[in-house]
C-alpha cells in the first residue's frame, strides 16, 4: 500500500480514477444483472402461467370426456411448441383431484394413474402445495435446490374443477438466458470502460503532469537554475494555475537577486581594482615625472656621445610608454570639459564610419539628442568611440551595428549593439577587468577605461546577449554628473 501511495501522481491519479471507474462499472453491471435475473424469473413465470391458461379449456373438455389421447396430444404439442420459445418444458402432467396422474408427456417417468406424491420427493412437495391451496387458479413454485420449477394451473370451468396441470420447467434455460443478458450487461460495462478509461488516463495525466513538472523544477532549485515551466502545460486560473504563477514569481525573484549579487561582487571587484590601479599609478607617476624631467634635462647637455644619446632616447621612450600606460589605467574623469552637444555624437559617427565601411557594415544610427546635455563631451565621446570600435571589430563581415542614444528619466541612455561573435557568460563576467584575457587584440584597457569613466560619472554599464543574437552594451549616465 505504501508503495502505491509513494507512486508518482503521474500514475496515482489515473490509477485511482481507473479503480473508481472499474468499481462503478462493475457495480452497475451487477445491479443490471440482478435486475435481469429477477425480470427473467418473472417473465418465465408469466409465460409459463400463460401457457397453462391457454391449455386449460381444451384439457377440461378432454378430461370431461375421459379422452386420454386427446389430453396427451394437447400437452405434448404444447410442450413442443413452448420449448421452442424461451421456456423449456421438460414435462407436463395432468393430475386429477385425487392426486393421480391422468396423463403426462413422459409416461414412463410419470405413468398414468400413478400417485403424484409417490413419483418423487419434489412431486410430493408439489402435491402438498396443490392440496394446501386448492382454490388458486395458477401459481409458479420454485423448489429450492431443484433443477426445475413448476407451474400449476387448475383445470376448471364454471367453478367445477377436474384437476391440475403441472408444467415442469427446467431451470437450465435460466443459465443461457441469464448468460445472454449478463453478456449484454457486461458488454455495456466494457463499453463504458472503453470510453472512460482512456479519458480518465488522459485527464489524470493532464492533471498530474503540471504537478510533476513543478515538483521536478522545485527539486532542481539550489543545484542549478531550473528550466522554465512549459507555459502551455497549464493555462487555467485555478489553484494549480496560481501555484504555477507563484512559482514563476518566486523563481524570477530568486534570479533577480542572484544577478544583483553577481553584479555587486563584480562592481566591488572592479572598484577594488580601480583603487589599486589608481594607487599604483600615483606611486609610479611621482618618480616617473622626476625621471622624465631628469632625462629631459640630460638631453639638453650637448656633450653627449652618440651612444649615450641613443640610450637616453631609449630610456625616454620606455618611460613615456610607462606613463601612457599608467595614464590609461588612471582614468581621471574630473577634468573640466565642455558640455555634450548633439553634434558631438554626429562627429563620433563620422570618425567610426570609415572603419565600418571597411567591413561593409550596416550602421543603424539613432541620435535623439536635440540640445546641449550637462555631461562632459570628451568622456561621452570616449565611451562611445570605445564601444563602437569594439562593436565594429566584433561584428561579422557585412554585419550590423546599431547605436541608439537619447535621454530618458533624467539620464543619458546609450545602447550599442552588434551581431557577430557572442560572448559567453564567463567572458561577460570578466569583461570590464583591465588586461582581460578575454580581449582579443589590443591591450584590453578599452573597456576598463570605459567602465572607469562610467563609474566616475556615477553611471552604469551592462552587457547582455539579446534574443536576436546581438551583443548589446548599455550605458546609463545621470545628467549633471
Amino acid at each position: 500500500m505504501k508503495l502505491f501511495l509513494n507512486l508518482s501522481y503521474r500514475y496515482k491519479i489515473p490509477l485511482w480514477g481507473s479503480l473508481l471507474i472499474l468499481v462503478t462499472a462493475l457495480a452497475v453491471s451487477i445491479s443490471f444483472m440482478i435486475n435481469d435475473y429477477r425480470q427473467l424469473e418473472n417473465d418465465l413465470t408469466v409465460e409459463s402461467e400463460k401457457l397453462g391458461y391457454s391449455l386449460k379449456s381444451n384439457l377440461f373438455t378432454a378430461m370431461l370426456h375421459d379422452d386420454i389421447w386427446r389430453a396427451f396430444e394437447i400437452i405434448t404439442e404444447a410442450s413442443h411448441r413452448a420449448s421452442s420459445n424461451r421456456v423449456l418444458v421438460e414435462n407436463m402432467l395432468l393430475v386429477d383431484n385425487a392426486g393421480r396422474v391422468v396423463v403426462s408427456t413422459h409416461p414412463r417417468e410419470a405413468p398414468m394413474l400413478a400417485e403424484l406424491d409417490k413419483l418423487s420427493p419434489e412431486f410430493a412437495k408439489i402435491a402438498a402445495q396443490i392440496k394446501q391451496y386448492p382454490d388458486q387458479p395458477s401459481r409458479t413454485i420454485y423448489v429450492s435446490d431443484s433443477k426445475h420449477y413448476y407451474s400449476l394451473t387448475r383445470i376448471e370451468k364454471d367453478n367445477a374443477s377436474l384437476g391440475t396441470l403441472i408444467i415442469v420447467h427446467s431451470k437450465e434455460v435460466f443459465l443461457p438466458l441469464f448468460a445472454e443478458s449478463a453478456l449484454h450487461g457486461l458488454s455495456a460495462g466494457a463499453l463504458i470502460l472503453a470510453i472512460l478509461l482512456p479519458f480518465n488516463w488522459y485527464w489524470g495525466r493532464r492533471m498530474a503532469l503540471p504537478l510533476v513538472q513543478l515538483a521536478e523544477r522545485m527539486a532542481q532549485l539550489g543545484k542549478k537554475w531550473p528550466d522554465d515551466l512549459d507555459p502551455h502545460l497549464y493555462g487555467y486560473r485555478d489553484e494549480l494555475g496560481r501555484l504555477y504563477e507563484a512559482y514563476n514569481l518566486l523563481l524570477n525573484d530568486l534570479k533577480t537577486k542572484d544577478a544583483l549579487e553577481i553584479r555587486m561582487v563584480q562592481s566591488e571587484r572592479l572598484a577594488a581594482l580601480g583603487q589599486l590601479a589608481a594607487g599604483i599609478a600615483h606611486e609610479i607617476n611621482n618618480p616617473l615625472s622626476g625621471m622624465l624631467t631628469a632625462i629631459d634635462t640630460l638631453k639638453h647637455h650637448t656633450d653627449l656621445d652618440p651612444r649615450t644619446t641613443k640610450t637616453i632616447a631609449l630610456i625616454e621612450r620606455g618611460l613615456t610608454q610607462i606613463k601612457d600606460t599608467v595614464a590609461a589605467l588612471l582614468v581621471e574623469a574630473k577634468m573640466n570639459s565642455r558640455n555634450l552637444m548633439p553634434q558631438d555624437i554626429e562627429d563620433v559617427l563620422t570618425l567610426i564610419a570609415p572603419m565600418g565601411s571597411k567591413k561593409a557594415l550596416h550602421i543603424a544610427w539613432h541620435n535623439s539628442l536635440t540640445d546641449e546635455v550637462a555631461l562632459p563631451a570628451t568622456f561621452v565621446r570616449q565611451i562611445m568611440i570605445n564601444l563602437l570600435i569594439n562593436a565594429i571589430k566584433a561584428a561579422s563581415q557585412q554585419g550590423e551595428v546599431a547605436c541608439d542614444i537619447g535621454i530618458e528619466d533624467g539620464q543619458l541612455d546609450i545602447s550599442i549593439s552588434n551581431n557577430g561573435k557572442m560572448l559567453s557568460p564567463e567572458q561577460i563576467s570578466h569583461l570590464f577587468e583591465p588586461f582581460s584575457s578575454m580581449s582579443e587584440g589590443g591591450h584590453g584597457l578599452g573597456l576598463w577605461v570605459t567602465y572607469q569613466i562610467v563609474q566616475q560619472l556615477g553611471g552604469h554599464i551592462a552587457v547582455k546577449r539579446e534574443f536576436n543574437d546581438h551583443m548589446n552594451f548599455t550605458v546609463e549616465i545621470p545628467l549633471g554628473a
Binding site: D66, D67, I68, W69, P107, M112
Partner: protein, 281 residues
Amino acid sequence: MKTILRLFAILSILLAANGAFAAAQTLRFGITPAMARNQYALLEDWRDYLARQLDRKVEFVFCDSYLDSLDLMKQQKLDFAWLSAPAYLESMQQTDLLATPVYQGKTYDHAYLIVPSTDKSTRSLLNLKGKIFAYVDSASNTGYLASRDQLQLAKQDPDQFFRKTFFTHDHLKAIAAVAIGLADGGTVSGFVWDTLTLSRQDITGETRIVAKSGPYGFPPVVARHTLNKNDFAQMQNALLNMSKNKEGIALLRRINLDGFTSADSRLYHGVYQMMKRAGEL
C-alpha cells in the same frame, strides 16, 4: 293443409334432386382410420388419380371415426367410405360393399397385440390384466373388437380386465401410445403396423408384437346404398383396375396394397360372429 303438404313434398323432391345433382358433380370419399393416414401427399395423388380415371371431381373427406363416416353417409354427405368391418356390418342396411383391398395376396387383415419394446415379459393378452390398454375405436375390429372377443373367450370381463383403457381413434396413434409407454399394451391393425414399419421403423421399433390374431376380412370400401348405379360401377371399376395400370400400381405400392377386388359379405362372417358374441348386433 293438403296443399302445404304437397308443396312441402315438391320442395323435398327438388332439394333431393338438387342433392343428387351435386353428388353427380363430385364424388365424396371418406378416409377413415382404416388406412395409414399420415401420407397426405399420397392421398392427394390417389384422389387426383381417381378423378382422372373417373373424369369426375373426387373429394376425400377425413373422418375422425368410423361412426362419423357412417353419420355423414346417412346424411348423404359421403358417397364412399373405407370402413372397418364392424362398421360395415352395422351399417349393412345403408351401404353396399364396393371393393375389398388385397393385402399380401389376400383379402385379410390381422390384429396385432403390441406392448412397449421395453416389456420383455408379456406373452399374451391375459398377462396385461390390470394394465393400461390402448384401443383404436369402438367400431374397429383389429383395434378393439378382436381383443375384447379374446378376453370374452378367456372368460374375462373386457370392461373390468384392464385398469384403464382409452381410445386413440387412429391405429397410428395407438401404436404411438404404446411406443412411448402411455399404454402398457394396445391392439392395432396388422396392415397399418406393417405399413408404418416401412416408413417409420423408429416408432414400430419401440413396440413388440406379442400376438397376431385373425385372419379377419379386410376393412372394405363401401358405397352409400342410395348412390346411383352408374357412380357405383364407375368407382368400383376405378378401384379394381388400379392394379392394371402403371400409375395405379405405383399408388398401390405406396398404399402398401396389392389391389382391390370385389368380395361379398361372407368375407366378414368371422367379424360378424365376434360382434354377435359381444352383443353388438
